[in-house]
Amino acid sequence: MSEHHKETFLTKYIFSLDHKMIAKQFLITGMFMGVVGMTMSILFRLQLSNPGESFAVLEFFLGEKWAPGGVLDPNMYLSLVTMHGTILVFWVLTAGLTGTFANFLIPLQIGARDMASGFMNMLSYWFFFAATLVLMYSLFVESGPAAAGWTIYPPLSALPQAIPGSGLGQDLWLIAITLFVVSSLLGGLNYIVTILNLRTKGMSMSRLPLTIWALLIVAILGVLSFPVLLSCALLLIFDRSFGTSFYLSDIIINGEALHNTGGSPILFEHLFWFLGHPEVYIILLPALGIVSEVISVNSRKPIFGYKAMVGALIVIAFLSFVVWGHHMFITGMDPFLGSVFTFTTLLIAIPSAVKVFNYLATLWRANIRFTPAMLFAIAFVSTFITGGLTGLILGDSALDINIHDTYFVVGHFHIVMGVSAIYGMLAGVYHWFPKMYGRMMNKKLGYFHFWVTFISAYGVFFPMHFLGLAGLPRRYYTNSAFPMFDGLTDINEVITFFAIIGGLVQLLFIFNFFYSIFKGTKASENPWKSNTLEWTTPVERIHGNWPGEIPSVERWPYDYSKPGADEDFIPQNVPLKEGETEH
């Protein structure tokens, strides 16, 4: 490892095999896609809350074709919603979040020189990059990008006659997702094998930081569920391109009766949600891991109930494979099956509650240092509670009858998965930025960014529950077709107002990020006085992570404020003192 490779710009920044550089590639691509996805949501929200009105921005971004006279075309509305969901779920919160922190943290926190296979790791990024290009290209095709929702239910997604977005745009969407899955699998394999094999001396599984536990479980979820998405997409590709009838049956479209018979769209939904539900935990678990770490470090206190935290992660992961039917209560599925899925779904509340109480217990009698990361972690607990509680309503099949596919759902999943995971990601960026770039992010901008984000996120997504309880369906281009929704205009305006504010302040974050990369104040080796191994590496980042030998691990990662110690933290590589017991 000590031999020096000659590094060129190309091998250092582009085709890098170094896990830290690959992590940054994922992060920056993810941030870019985040801006794209967020802009889309602001564009369609603008039209939604002002039906029929003309906006120069719409015309600026979408042109005369998709926003004639500055009024959004309804097909384009659905395309924007679809691409927004796809981008945020897969590109930002799967690849952007896991890709960044798994790559960055796994080798550093377990004490490894790099990933098990640097080459596969690089390949993983480049597949992701190719997927990004294809998806971005689909924004510019003649018939518009995919428009059948991020869940691409056939027949809508299978028939270009049904909606223009289901033409070339949907093909490109499917290609992009296939490349994306390959990328995720390559990454996931690597994460698992690295964690299982390359831990440094003394790093037993029970001494792993919770971030690593979460990332391990996420990788396992991914390896088991993404291939099923691929098989689901494959059959859709066959139906679209070769005229098979896996999902299609008895259809007349544009006055033409199709030959397909015997297929079942419900089959698609089963396959899709078999991935789809674990996917929401693929998004959430890394955030849970990051938040556990950030809360413990900044509370100057061990995370409360480490074993229960790991156990809860495992139980949640396991249950996530047996609850997919809660997305299908009203598809006419066997009511008994519905009962089973209600049962398994509501069970998830138990490990989730344990996690929340453990976070609260960690904060109890803490000595909290309010870094921007810590604020985001606290906010995560808040949104995780709010969103988790509304899940109790949606998971109950009888209640789901009347709120399925309404804005209540949109409010619920944005809070529990969207906002929470974004908070986890932002907490992670603020927390590990000094290790990534050797500099500090500006704290004042950080505080400002946090508070505006916190207020506007709740301002956007909490009111949506009321829209849903008023019966308003999601994916509606306008509410003006039904007099019963006329009273909802003011709620919609509040939502759009906060969406714009919340969106703008993210630009401030991005500014802070790039400013600090180049001009931030220099960071010390361990600015947060943290225990985990990554903080024992030098500020100058080197290939192989540690200049000398890799430190060996002598204790668990959460010895903060341990009685009898000189300082309020004891890094993992410090041996136990005479007579000292491990927690």
Partner: protein, 184 residues
């Protein structure tokens, strides 16, 4: 030495976990098959004889590959046996194509008027298996060349081991699919 051992172990683990994800892919497809079949309107048909021939071929290729690995372990050259496996693998591909021809002759189509989901499934599943198998053929080719170049030693013939694991897996996967089509 220590380092190679570790590398061998991680490479094998990577492969095994990759295999798990391939298994999930086919599990997804075959459970779709079961669900769809339960809904009725299902065309029953004879499995083509060529698929039985495929089965024999892939078992034979796996046997050859076992001998190849044995040779490598004993420090003898495995090149010829690897090439033999490769040849049978290519024949397997040929037999699959012949099998599809048989199906078409029987009136079982992938698509179009008169096609049925049972037919579409069999084409889709065999095609997907074949795509994975082509990866195996490439791996066999590379291993054979490296073996010819004398890159493998008694103590380290990781390439042959990895190729073997993957190839045997493909054989078992085919057996599973074959039995599945016949009896499910």
């Amino acid at each position: 030495m220590q380092l190679t051992l570790k590398k061998n172990k991680t490479s094998k683990q990577l492969l095994w976990i990759g295999i798990v994800s391939i298994v999930m892919f086919f599990a997804g497809l075959t459970s779709a098959y079961i669900v769809r079949k339960a809904e009725g309107g299902w065309l029953e048909f004879e499995m083509p004889v060529w698929f039985t021939i495929s089965t024999v071929a892939i078992v034979a290729s796996s046997a050859l590959l076992l001998f190849a690995a044995q040779n490598a372990r004993a420090g003898r050259s495995a090149t010829n046996l690897l090439l033999g496996t490769l040849a049978i693998g290519v024949f397997f591909t040929y037999s699959q194509v012949q099998g599809w021809d048989d199906l078409v002759a029987q009136g079982v189509y992938l698509t179009g008027e008169g096609s049925n989901a049972s037919g579409s499934f069999i084409y889709a599943l065999t095609l997907m298996h074949l795509l994975h198998l082509i990866g195996g053929l490439i791996a066999l080719g590379i291993t054979a060349v490296k073996s010819k170049q004398g890159k493998y030693t008694k103590d380290n013939y990781l390439g042959i081991q990895l190729t073997s694991i993957y190839w045997h897996f493909l054989g078992i996967l085919w057996l599973y699919l074959f039995l599945f089509f016949t009896y499910a």
